[in-house]
């Protein structure tokens, strides 16, 4: 793993240096960086967001373009690594902070790939800069890049209604956008946990764990930039599942005790959550308000 050739131990300062350079060139420019994760897999970083691109022997497969502006920088970053063309753009989800800008990456001839519900979402709520998927799948799809491939898997509603779990090969690194973020299991940033389909969350993680085991995945990568190593052991998937399982059970216990929704943050024992990255009692309290509805209304 290197930042365009630098050993890992120099990675963080080098990213910061790249960011500072960009900043010095233009105060308006977003912070960008490229991280070599090995085996043809790279992370492109833009203003706190992270996308992955996979360089095979005959093409490049890129994930989420992020935005029109980001995609221009993304394409430039890919050009610094390889002269091969981006032929496929794979969407992790249908969210507007991930999907727009594809045309900047792969033009009109590129293939835009997503789970089929993403296409339906983008048709229902179009974004002017988002290219509609030109190829969709239902449960599973493999995109071939010669000696590398991107495997996409769908396990039902989780974070959004069309989230693809991605495995990059031969790196054998997994990406679960929004839900699994190295270096450690964490509390989601959004206390309202909007678009989190709680009724399927734990089962979703179980499927991901089973997939990782079946495919021999050893590491996971995130979709946002965080402090520390860009990759984490695949056990992070289990750690994050345990987080959700723990949080849901805490609220379920209170619900079964008939504690009113607004009182649950005051009465629930949050001790088991205190060690998680991003833990804040008020933040988790708001999440509990949302989770209460899972038990009251079923969703």
């Amino acid at each position: 793993m290197t930042l365009t050739g630098l050993p890992l131990q120099f990675l963080k300062p080098a990213i910061l240096a790249a960011a500072c350079l960009c900043t010095s060139l233009s105060l308006q420019a977003a912070e960008t960086a490229t991280v070599d994760l090995g085996n043809g897999l790279y992370a492109f970083r833009y203003d706190g967001q992270q996308s992955l691109f996979l360089v095979g022997d005959d093409r490049v497969i890129a994930t989420d373009p992020l935005s029109k502006e980001a995609a221009k920088a993304y394409k430039a970053a890919i050009k610094k690594v390889t002269r091969k063309k981006v032929t496929h753009v794979a969407y992790t989800s249908s969210f507007f902070n991930r999907v727009p800008g594809g045309k900047e990456l792969a033009g009109r001839r590129g293939e835009y790939v997503a789970q089929e519900n993403c296409k339906a979402n983008l048709q229902a709520t179009p974004h002017p800069d988002a290219v509609l998927p030109t190829r969709t799948y239902t449960d599973q799809l493999s995109l071939d890049a010669g000696d590398a491939s991107l495997e996409m898997h769908y396990f039902g509603q989780s974070y959004g209604t069309c989230l693809s779990v991605m495995i990059f090969k031969p790196a054998n690194v997994m990406l679960v956008h929004g839900l699994v973020i190295p270096p450690s299991a964490r509390v989601p940033d959004d206390p309202t946990i909007a678009n989190y389909y709680l009724h399927n969350m734990v089962q979703f993680f179980v499927y991901v764990e089973e997939l990782a085991a079946a495919e021999g995945v050893t590491q996971v990568v995130g979709s946002v930039v965080t402090e520390g190593e860009p990759l984490a052991p695949v056990s992070l998937v289990t750690d994050q599942r345990v987080f959700w399982d723990t949080l849901l059970r805490i609220v379920e216990v209170e619900y079964n005790k008939k504690t009113p929704a607004q009182r649950i943050p005051k009465t629930a024992d949050m001790t088991a959550l205190e060690g998680y990255e991003g833990y804040d009692p008020e933040h988790v309290g708001t999440m509990m308000r949302r989770i209460y509805s899972l038990y009251r209304i079923g969703r």
């Binding site: 902070n97 309202t192 909007a194 678009n195 708001t286 209460y292 509805s293 009251r296 969703r299």
Partner: protein, 313 residues
């Protein structure tokens, strides 16, 4: 499950006597709305039923505790059997408790997505729909009908509004409330709410009401009013204006959050800025009732809208 005032009701439910679940407010209430249409309320939850010579069309059974009182309320006005039960949506707090009506032969009707939801997340007290539809469906018994309309995701992904005829009164659950749509959301995280279609949905309901000549709604929850004497129960019916008001609630809130984020304000800071803004106070906060909601709850709702603004969902 939506109006904030409903929360107060739910909170007090366990503390109060059975006959009155809030001092001065009966636990169970049935209103004769004319033309064979009745509104039934159990605690904070409400449904409607239509009595015809050929049987009864009921709506949301509410829950297992309400099932007996609901059947009794129907029996108090007719000895006809319940032929149909129409679900407004798939959430358990409105849709459970229908088994006694199923046992007497009622057929259950819902929008297609409700069946998928109910089958996916099973509840022991929820009867699966027998009849499903995509866009609209009319349950007819003699000269009466209950017309069901679906306009895409809103409070959940299968919510329908219903018009009882010939009373020509609309039954609308969780997406607005009588007497006014200017009421804080019960759950400010919006749980399963589909914000991206909320305005369009409500606009479609406004157009439906206009085309059908509907000027009155019954909402799926008791709304509380507040005066110098304290709390009181708002009537079961209210003006159709509540639909437009709720649409405006969302439009103003969405625009305020989007404008603030366009200035570069981070998602987590938008609420803090808006809650101090004189313009937002005038445009939005001053339209809410003076009591019965908290700024901390509105801050959560604003944070939810910020995510919608960023992600489109």
């Amino acid at each position: 499950m939506r109006a904030l005032s409903t929360f107060l009701v739910v909170s007090l439910l366990s503390l109060s006597a059975q006959a009155q679940f809030i001092p001065g407010i009966e636990l169970i209430q049935t209103d004769d709305l004319g033309d064979g249409l009745y509104a039934f309320r159990y605690g904070p939850y409400r449904n409607i039923f239509i009595v015809t010579d050929d049987g009864v069309i009921a709506t949301d059974p509410l829950d297992i505790k309400a099932a007996g009182p609901l059947r009794e309320a129907i029996s108090n006005v007719t000895d006809k059997p319940v032929k149909y039960v129409a679900y407004s949506h798939s959430h358990w707090d409105h849709a459970s408790g229908g088994q006694p009506l199923k046992d007497e032969g009622a057929q259950f009707v819902a929008q297609r997505e409700c069946l998928r939801n109910m089958a996916e997340t099973r509840h022991p007290d929820v009867v699966l729909p027998d009849i499903v539809f995509d866009d609209s469906y009319s349950i007819k018994l003699g000269e009466h009908s209950l017309d069901m309309y679906y306009y895409g995701p809103s409070h959940d992904d299968c919510m329908t509004v219903m018009i009882a005829k010939p009373a020509n009164i609309m039954f609308i659950v969780d997406i607005t409330s009588a007497p006014t749509g200017w009421e804080m959301e019960y759950n400010p995280t919006m749980a399963e709410g589909y914000l991206y279609n909320m305005v369009q949905y409500l606009r479609a309901v406004e157009e439906l009401a206009a085309s059908e000549g509907v000027d009155t709604i019954v909402s799926g929850h008791l709304a509380l009013g507040f005066n110098k004497q304290g709390m009181f129960a708002q009537p079961a019916t209210g003006p159709i204006d509540a639909v437009r008001e709720k649409r405006e609630f969302w439009e103003i809130l969405f625009a305020a959050v989007a404008d603030e984020m366009a200035k570069g304000t981070p998602k987590d800071e938008v609420a803090g800025v808006l809650l101090k803004s004189p313009e937002f106070k005038e445009d939005f906060i001053d339209k809410l009732p003076p009591v019965g909601w908290k700024k901390s709850e509105l801050a959560i709702l604003i944070r939810r809208v910020a995510t919608y603004t960023e992600t489109g969902r």
